[in-house]
Symmetry: C2
Amino acid sequence: MSITIKDVAKKTGVSITTVSQILNGKGQRFSEKTREKVWSAAEELNYKANYFAQNMVTKQTQTIGVIIPDITNTFYSDMIKGIEDYLYENGFMVLLCNSTDNEERENLYLNQLVHRSVDGFIIASSTISDEMIFDLLKKNDKPYILLDRKREEHESDNIIVDDTEGGYVATEHLITLGHRNIGVITSSSSDVNVHNRFVGYKKCMEDYGLLMKEEWIMRETLSMSGGYEAAKKLLQADVSAIFATSDQLAIGVYRAASEVGVCIPEQLSLIGYDDIELASYMSPPLTTIHQPIYEIGKLAAETLIHRIMNPEEAAKNHLVKTRLVVRSSTKVL
Amino acid sequence: MSITIKDVAKKTGVSITTVSQILNGKGQRFSEKTREKVWSAAEELNYKANYFAQNMVTKQTQTIGVIIPDITNTFYSDMIKGIEDYLYENGFMVLLCNSTDNEERENLYLNQLVHRSVDGFIIASSTISDEMIFDLLKKNDKPYILLDRKREEHESDNIIVDDTEGGYVATEHLITLGHRNIGVITSSSSDVNVHNRFVGYKKCMEDYGLLMKEEWIMRETLSMSGGYEAAKKLLQADVSAIFATSDQLAIGVYRAASEVGVCIPEQLSLIGYDDIELASYMSPPLTTIHQPIYEIGKLAAETLIHRIMNPEEAAKNHLVKTRLVVRSSTKVL
């Protein structure tokens, strides 16, 4: 006869509900002693819940599908950490999908996640079409959160970072230091967040009545090598400062500058965006726009779980503020 | 009546097997046209496979549990990318567990993964006890791969990086450049791989008959801030070169050196370990020991899937070689 949850409860002398909650990762409110007792009894008895049979009844998988474009980009791994920390505390697990911005891969993953009956989605991948998300997730009545991607008028919860404002503040910082010829490196793909930073740059330049030459505007993949390639060209243009719309791009600028012997900040001011941990480790430390990446991940997970538990509530927009962090890569002209 | 796979096959005019393989993410060998036809028919009919009912029959979940200590460490995110790329191609998905080197969290995750009937485990977290892995996974007859952690005489497949050799080569490079007073930064936790790099350092120093002062040996957490703290102390000792046993640690050394105005490599030679992408972006670019991190992830996934398909085969050890990559952070004394 197979071992059931009753046997575990009997062995430990606690209620069946307690055992069930602990073994389902929802036992945070019980003492460490109780949890340990239950886990070791379950182990000793070699108790195995029939997970699939359970799920056929409850229709809950305690699993969240997370789709991101690039796990090797520190921005996304910090975000994943925030998501995962919150989900862990609440007894959920993460099915990780690294889409590599490949549309076929994204569609396959999205379908697989629906197929696997995940309880909700966190999507931070910009190339999945709105139609795809809307049709597939709406049709299957799946809650989802969109992060860092184009948002149409979905009725879904959103985490919105004020990137236009952030881009404006970054540019204004350079202008305040006396710079007029300001280059910008933005994304060549359709990330709406990064694009908004660029919109902020343009708005600020216009507000101050400054010229924007075509050769000052670079569009590249959001990576160190993208920043490197863009900077090689910008260093031949007549700019005294560069706004890199992500810190990854900025790291590439350091390399390009160092290769041609251009000193940051003496000969070139550089400001990034994101404030990844590395930013303060660069030489000189990078001035950048801080956004609370880890907290954004946590907030996304929290909002999603709240939505799963309260499907009837109206969708919410959460606005996240950015702030300027002045370090040593920018200087008065 | 609910829609079945037969209806999808009928609508698209392909066989039931073809539909099944494509919808289960195993359709890579079919043309893009066929795949698209099947997906859109399934979508139009709003076909939903009963995943749980399926799994109760096949006992396969097409899911691999991956336990790592820190997703925000580029080393692990590169590894995950390798794992995930291979699994994606083979129709498996990743349940990601970030253990934060917390033993309770690791144990809970391990139990959850068993509970969820994942098909196999990739474990790159050093604090899970051998007993835990052995008891839990053996008892449940679960295939697993151990990476970057202490290995006892398990009968499991292993991916082994020759870290003692790598540590030896790093140290010898510094000695060849004329350095005698060589500091080392190693891990304060129980990572066997990092420890082996330190063993390589000691062996090399002994072979060359060089002194190792206590104050030249730093033990820190494997992070940028760990490297920074260690370097602040080493820069007050009489060393002319530092071997940082991971590139993350080395990045911290750059910061500490820059803060006190010590120039790399003119006043301090620095060698790292791992060769993360960032290494070549540092100023000056970091000399380091290259290990093929992405390929190690891929190999781990490949070995695990092979094991799942061939449970009776004898366990294998895969040895991965490292190599010295000389950039500009080391110099003749």
